[in-house]
């Protein structure tokens, strides 16, 4: 991941997302109006968050199998960037919901699901913060990461069955992906998703390199 080509791709895609997302034509829909452009910024945050948490989960398993502290550093940093993207996604979503649903918070299952993700990973940070011994911290937080992530996926799948959704595409609301995510929007949406995911991975790799250096400095005499 030290090559630079994918970072160039990331910058190009995000540049295209920002310009194309604001300038290219979108379908004119009631209520949603121009806020439909939020699709290019809000939805990819969730994709990125889930990908980062998934990578963190995989590294937690790899740590438990190998006992290599580097894997724990990977896992922790991917989680931190995932939390950052979940906060961004929540903020962009709440801002959007204030104008379209009339309230920033309205008991929507996807909001609840994200709130649960955020609580789980905040708890993960609290758990990590409470332990000073590195080996122990790595082991216990990896165990919690695997346990929580493996349980979270089925729970996120169940939640929408318990409460009605206001999100576009469910509960009779006009959806992006059913009939009005037209060719124009796909042209921006898919590059946007890839661009934001690459950005998330980029930030994570920078943080990982930084914390590996810190780790070496603290452990060399």
């Amino acid at each position: 991941m030290r090559q630079s080509w994918w970072k160039v791709v990331c910058v190009l895609l995000l540049g295209y997302t920002v310009t194309g997302g604001i300038l290219l034509p979108v379908p004119a829909l009631d209520i949603i109006n121009e806020t439909i452009r939020n699709l290019y910024f809000h939805v990819p945050m969730w994709f990125t968050m889930i990908i980062l948490f998934l990578v963190s989960f995989i590294y937690a398993i790899r740590y438990l199998r190998s006992g290599d502290l580097k894997h724990d550093i990977y896992s922790a940093e991917f989680t931190k960037v995932g939390i950052f993207f979940s906060i961004l996604g929540m903020l962009t979503g709440m801002e959007w919901a204030k104008y379209t649903w009339g309230a920033a918070w309205s008991n929507d299952p996807k909001q609840l699901g994200t709130a649960i993700c955020m609580l789980i990973y905040f708890a993960y940070l609290v758990l990590r913060g409470g332990m000073k011994d590195e080996e122990k911290r790595a082991k216990i937080s990896s165990v919690y990461n695997v346990f929580a992530f493996a349980l979270m996926i089925p729970l996120l799948w169940i939640l929408p069955r318990m409460v009605d959704s206001l999100h576009p595409g469910s509960g009779g609301n006009p959806g992006f992906n059913t009939y009005d995510l037209d060719a124009d929007m796909r042209m921006v949406f898919y590059p946007a998703v890839i661009g934001w995911i690459l950005l998330g991975v980029w930030i994570s790799t920078l943080r990982i390199r930084l914390s590996i250096i810190t780790h070496h400095r603290e452990n060399s005499f």
């Binding site: 649960i116 409470g130 216990i140 990896s142 165990v143 346990f147 929580a148 349980l151 939640l159 318990m162």
Partner: protein
């Protein structure tokens, strides 16, 4: 595996019985909680009754299950480590907390029906769901109390770790329980019940897979 499992559960239950003050402490905790809820709400309507009941279950579960790992002295884990394999140790703790939680939740159900009214239509079904709820909640919190104990932390950390996972489980339980309370038509009740049981199974399996990593130092 069966015989160490049995003796571990027996040991925990015997300790519980001999140290009656902790057992009565838990029972009194349930009593006071239900009484506090009653003072706040009186005799509420059925849906509120249901919600209050499951919230009470959550708090009671945290306080009674926290004992399973947190009451053991950390050094004693090393002794157990030489005696039994981790899976049977975790299973023994789970069975012990499920037993304790069953007693405590049935007691809280009895107190609820005395103080807050008795809106239940199908009593047998409601008791069954309460029992399932005790099993789910104690299984989750037993594993999390193991994490909290290994991290040298208190029951508060266990609550922080457990709330996000326990909330959807509680929602499923209270939706299932609505069938026993109000004669409403609920499509997909059996699916929901099946999903809850699968989730319980998943918790136990994950616990057995992950506990050995937690256990070794």
């Amino acid at each position: 595996m069966a015989s160490p499992l049995f003796s571990l559960v027996k040991k925990d239950l015997l300790i519980e019985w001999r140290q009656k003050h902790t057992l009565f402490g838990v029972l009194l905790y349930v009593g006071s909680t239900v009484f506090a809820v009653y003072m706040m709400s009186g005799q509420p309507e059925t849906k509120v009754w249901n919600a209050l009941f499951w919230i009470t279950q959550l708090f009671v579960a945290i306080n009674s299950v926290a004992k399973s790992f947190l009451q053991e002295h950390p050094n004693r884990f090393r002794y157990y480590f030489t005696l039994v394999n981790p899976a049977s140790f975790l299973l023994a703790k789970m069975i012990y907390s499920i037993t304790l939680m069953l007693v405590v939740s049935l007691l809280s159900l009895a107190l609820f029906s005395v103080l807050l009214g008795f809106p239940i239509v199908q009593t047998g079904l409601f008791i069954l769901i309460t029992a399932t709820g005790s099993i789910s909640l104690s299984a989750v919190f037993t594993f999390l109390s193991a994490i909290a104990a290994r991290a040298n932390q208190n029951a508060a950390l266990m609550a922080i770790l457990g709330f996000p996972i326990a909330t959807p489980v509680l929602m499923m339980l209270s939706n299932l329980a609505l069938k026993a309370i109000a004669p409403v038509y609920q499509p997909g009740w059996w699916t929901l019940a099946g999903v809850l049981l699968m989730l319980d199974l998943l918790i136990v399996v994950l616990g057995i897979i992950l506990f050995p990593f937690l256990w070794q130092e």
